[in-house]
Symmetry: C2
Subunit: 279 residues, 2 copies
Amino acid sequence: MKIGILGLGLIGGSLGYDLRSQGHHVLGVSRRQSTCQKAIALGSVDEASVDMSLLATADVVFICTPIGLIVPQFQQLISHLSAATIITDVASVKTPIVKALAPLWRNFIGGHPMAGTADSGIEAAQRDLFLGRPYVLTPDTTTPTSVISVVEEIVRSLGANIYHCQPEQHDRAVSWISHLPVMVSAALIAACMGETDPDVLQLAQNLASSGFRDTSRVGGGNPELGLMMAQYNRQALLGSLQEYRHNLDELINLIEQENWTVLEAKLQSTQQARPNFVE
Amino acid sequence: MKIGILGLGLIGGSLGYDLRSQGHHVLGVSRRQSTCQKAIALGSVDEASVDMSLLATADVVFICTPIGLIVPQFQQLISHLSAATIITDVASVKTPIVKALAPLWRNFIGGHPMAGTADSGIEAAQRDLFLGRPYVLTPDTTTPTSVISVVEEIVRSLGANIYHCQPEQHDRAVSWISHLPVMVSAALIAACMGETDPDVLQLAQNLASSGFRDTSRVGGGNPELGLMMAQYNRQALLGSLQEYRHNLDELINLIEQENWTVLEAKLQSTQQARPNFVE
């Protein structure tokens, strides 16, 4: 199959490696000529260009640009394609993307591979990035079954675990387990920075260990990523934040009231619930 | 030197290993005969007994019981000791312990080795547990300098990094970097449990990955530990929680108001601040 990749960063570049090793012919498009050259040199794509017309012959196109560029680049892209071409994207928020793209292209299906590393760019791309990872697809009632099965087959060949859901369900789920943690964790760092006694602040910095390291990790990550989550998944994230604040207030009240029995029961319930999310 | 250890769990047992390997004669006391036998068999202590009078000849005694037992056991302990004996403890909250014990024993100094594992008990004890880890000592103006230097020398022989501060400073510092993270993290798990759509909850559980894993780790830990922090460090923890809530509210407001410039600046500041706490 001829597969196009628009956007040759970590996700696009990694897709290229795996699709080529499956025997597909991979066409890559990047805004930068230097990225095109690197992608070819690294072996992530067969051909690459800054010109979208390279993708005219693709059977399937993966849009792997940053989320803010998807809609404008999609509008350019479709002027080069025949109506039979299947398009999918990899954005980490689905509702606004699907709402914008689905009405414009019959053979479109939204997707989100839940894989990544702390690094970005074509240099960070790696083989088997999607192996054993979740890959969410968000078909709606109008998505042709042939589109679903073609994209599913490709995704399955990456070794990913496929989930189907509505875009809104995806966005609520990732707001709980990915976007809320970023805000919760950022507020932790911000709160500690608020210590007014410099000796205590210095001591806290000296004593911080694995508990602080883990809880603060995603809140100390790439600010653009956190901003993107808030901008594109604002409604779901606000819902999660309100529920979080409610639970935080409950903990504060229990400690204020020295209600140790209920506090212990609450901590027991979180201990019991966590393995349902992660081993 | 003859060194006594009252309480043969993870910390007491690990201290025993290291002190014996430094050539000290280690006397261990546990409430359970079976623990005494294990401690001897494992090589963590030279002698062990359920009877505190075993510690009568010790030059220094480390109290390593759970925090709730320190004061009552201390009162029993001192009836067996000569006034020259140095006593220190390893509790993770210092103000209530130092306030209770310092008036009762001239040669007392509070301490807190910031080391541990997810496991507990004498079976979890290990050599070099304190190597490269912080060890806080909380002498006050009445602590004899000889007491400080003897305990410092022992702590230094464990390979730990020594910090001195007031008990209240210690408790505020650990409330920021150890106790607050537990509550922040527990509230995250509790909030996710609040999702009312079972399909979305199931999807969230399926999609949860390293971000959720790290941010939820300490909130899904031992409930007794979280309860202990709240009970013994209540005032400092409440202060940290209020500051945290303030920062959380600020993030919520910025997202509600779509104030992306300030939100990005805030996330940049947390990204920049985190390396001051952990590498």
